[in-house]
Symmetry: C2
Subunit: 440 residues, 2 copies
């Protein structure tokens, strides 16, 4: 048994229990017990770790990202057509399985340093994402993208489903990692593929990841091609269920929001990506008011630049306050819930992770509150949402295993991960010069 | 002469010169020279410091804050009436000169750690703010608040002007610190006081700090009481000149924006405070399109929680992109300009600080770009705006003096500053329990 003592505990359990000074016991991969004060006398074999008054909170859950896109971070900012000008050509020409693995390794490092313990990823060559998460010790869903456009790892949806079958076979018994289909979006797959993904997920008891109601073009496409909203089309395809993790939900109508609520579908909100793209403010308060479960995602680091959730907290909160014209919407407590238990819930992992409770997996983060920037603390949730930084994370644990201690990541070789990524970025930069040269 | 070598230089000069690997020479309090590669052979007395490839950029300028309000940080978040419920009663009962000094010392520590080298402060007991800035080695404007409500340091505007005279007498010859009048806002001072502040500033060749067009109530008050906009009233009072630093400018009409442009008045934009308060999005792109000079402020840490400008970069950029419905408004380069030369300009210090140029004061920041979160770098401005954190600042220099090296602040005793602030916060917490108890 490992005993973390002298810790401030933020449990994020249903009662939002906070313990000013307490302890937490870990047995194998699970939380065995926790309490206030000092732990009851244990066995001499117990490993006791003094948390020095630091905060222990649940590991954070990122329900929507494209990890390997670290390699595109900061590229073509402020350029409206950067997707077609840079990203898609670079993906087609240069994104191989090795490149994906390199980008994901840099991402895993950043997740661990930022206190993210679970990710839902959708991209290409997801077997490599799985390999990186496994090495790094992170928990996650790996989503095989299925799209009707030319993708780096498949030509046609049959190939994509074959890759998905193989991925699921490989990870079926993995304790931390599961495969999911990831139909790219309604407009880029169509109802037949969505139906097939829904059936696959039902058969294999899996989650599904998809971008939904993300762009005005998507909304217009559904009305034009199918005479209904993209959300209704998703419902007709059998996908609007609790199995679906719907990323973005920027532009649902009132009726669409009712459908999402009735379907029990979870939404991954990505405030910074929405804001940076000039997309606007997603109706998160309205969705939550209907009982829709919402988690806080980062989207890919090309869209939001960072993979920690601290970067999302203030934007997510401010956007709803701006839309509501008041200081009240989306209080800090709700933001932290979305980043922990809320995110776990929409990934179908809510019974296993998301809060510090006996019996749950020991996924947790140790945060220092020592920085002058964080003091004084009147409300720990407000401190976390509006002042804490990923650099305040001191240690990160998944399933009872420390992945980082004292800011040193133990499962990813940091220097090599960065150096490898920079090599790939140099190839990207050469290509960008060609693109810019050709259009100059 | 001090030579900083092996540095990446972001000059923020008019040509936006960037040097991948270069050097910068400091003589006394000034930048003597800078260049690419290695410096020309110097004298044996030169002190050579290897920057290890780190970024050197101009020190950041925060043109609107209330430093001592660190003590209120995170208090009453999400509570709409927190100003009247908590802040004003606490200020009246407990904010003394000693308390202001304590709050400001915690703030100075955070500014230095976050790379802010110049602040424009407005609050009470500004002689104590001056004392703290002087001790800490920071550059700043100290603004004596003038208000028609009961203030902690004055009863009536005559007393406020007497304090202002004394403050100006004390700091007239200080190399880094100047006094300014700070009429609280048009509605809380009225035209006569605004006129008096304008005349005072003209006589003493000083700047003026004031909240302007910040709330809907203020806009309605001006129309009701004076039959014109609050901006027009400010103009009539002789205050709408380049001497004025107008904080917020949330709700100017098109005509008001024209007046601000014609007056040459600078605007301090405080994105996070605006967003957190549910106030909305200030028309910064529209102001800048008219040629209005805009800096990036934090407002008090009760409003935005932190005093570094990194926390403001993404919100400021995202808000304009959301308002404009595109990725293009307020590019990253402009954000960094607002945080450096732009802020310096609106404080009337643009010829002295704001960029790395020979002859300017040596106010600068050394940033590490080593964190995996910051890599790869395609565009250094995008990296700074969307991925860098105040914790990436390694060293901070004002007027040729290192205030922090290797994250150790040399001019403020960090442990004592935090401990003192926590003692005050405990008194505040007692009072808050009384307030909450009385209303329960």
């Amino acid at each position: 048994m490992t005993l973390l003592v002298n810790a401030r505990l933020l449990t994020m359990d249903a009662g939002r229990r906070e313990i000013e000074r307490g302890w937490l016991a870990i047995e194998g991969d699970r939380i065995a017990a926790l309490g206030a004060g000092d732990p009851p006398g244990g066995s001499p074999d117990d490993v006791v770790e003094d948390m020095d008054g630091d905060l222990i909170m649940p590991g954070m859950v990122n329900p929507h990202t494209h990890l390997a896109m670290t390699l595109f971070r900061g590229l073509g900012e402020d350029v409206d057509d950067r997707l077609f000008r840079y990203i898609l050509p670079l993906e087609r020409a240069l994104v191989t399985a090795d490149v994906v693995e390199t980008g994901a390794r840099l991402a895993a490092l950043e997740c661990i340093q930022g206190g993210v313990t679970t990710v839902a990823d959708m991209y290409y060559f997801e077997d490599r994402i799985g390999r990186v998460l496994d090495e790094a010790g992170l928990r996650g869903l790996i989503g095989q993208t299925i799209a009707n456009f030319a993708a780096p790892d498949h030509a046609g949806t049959d190939e994509a489903f074959a890759l998905l079958d193989a991925l699921d076979d490989s990870y079926r018994d993995h304790p931390l990692i599961s495969a999911t289909p990831a139909p790219h979006a309604p407009y880029s797959t169509g109802p037949a593929v969505m139906e097939r993904a829904a059936a696959w997920a039902e058969n294999r008891d899996a989650m599904v990841q998809m971008h939904l109601a993300e762009t005005h073009d998507e909304m217009a496409w559904a009305e034009r091609e199918h005479g209904c909203s993209t959300v209704e089309l998703t419902r007709r395809s059998g996908l609007l269920t609790p199995r679906l993790i719907a990323a973005h939900a920027m532009y649902p109508s009132e009726a669409d929001m009712d459908l999402i609520a009735e379907g029990g579908t979870g939404v991954a909100h990505n405030a910074r990506a929405n804001g940076k793209g000039g997309r606007g403010i997603a109706p998160i308060a309205a969705l939550r008011a209907r009982g829709v479960r919402v988690g806080l995602g980062t989207d890919g680091p090309m869209s939001s630049n960072t993979l920690d959730l601290f970067s999302q907290f203030a934007p997510a909160s401010m956007f709803q306050k701006i839309a509501g014209g008041s200081r009240k919407p989306l209080p800090a407590t709700d933001v932290i819930h979305m980043a922990t238990q809320g995110g776990a819930d929409i990934l179908g992992l809510g019974a296993k992770i998301g809060s510090l409770e006996p019996g749950k997996q020991a996924d947790l983060v140790r945060m220092s509150l020592d920085a002058p920037r964080l003091q004084p603390v009147y409300d720990i949730y407000a401190t976390l949402v509006f002042a804490a930084l990923p650099s305040d994370v001191r240690a990160t644990m998944v399933a009872g295993r420390w992945l980082m201690r004292d800011r040193v990541v133990e499962t990813v070789e940091a220097k090599r991960a960065v150096a490898d990524a920079l090599q790939v970025a140099d190839r990207f930069k050469d290509r960008i010069r060609e693109i810019d040269g050709a259009s100059a």
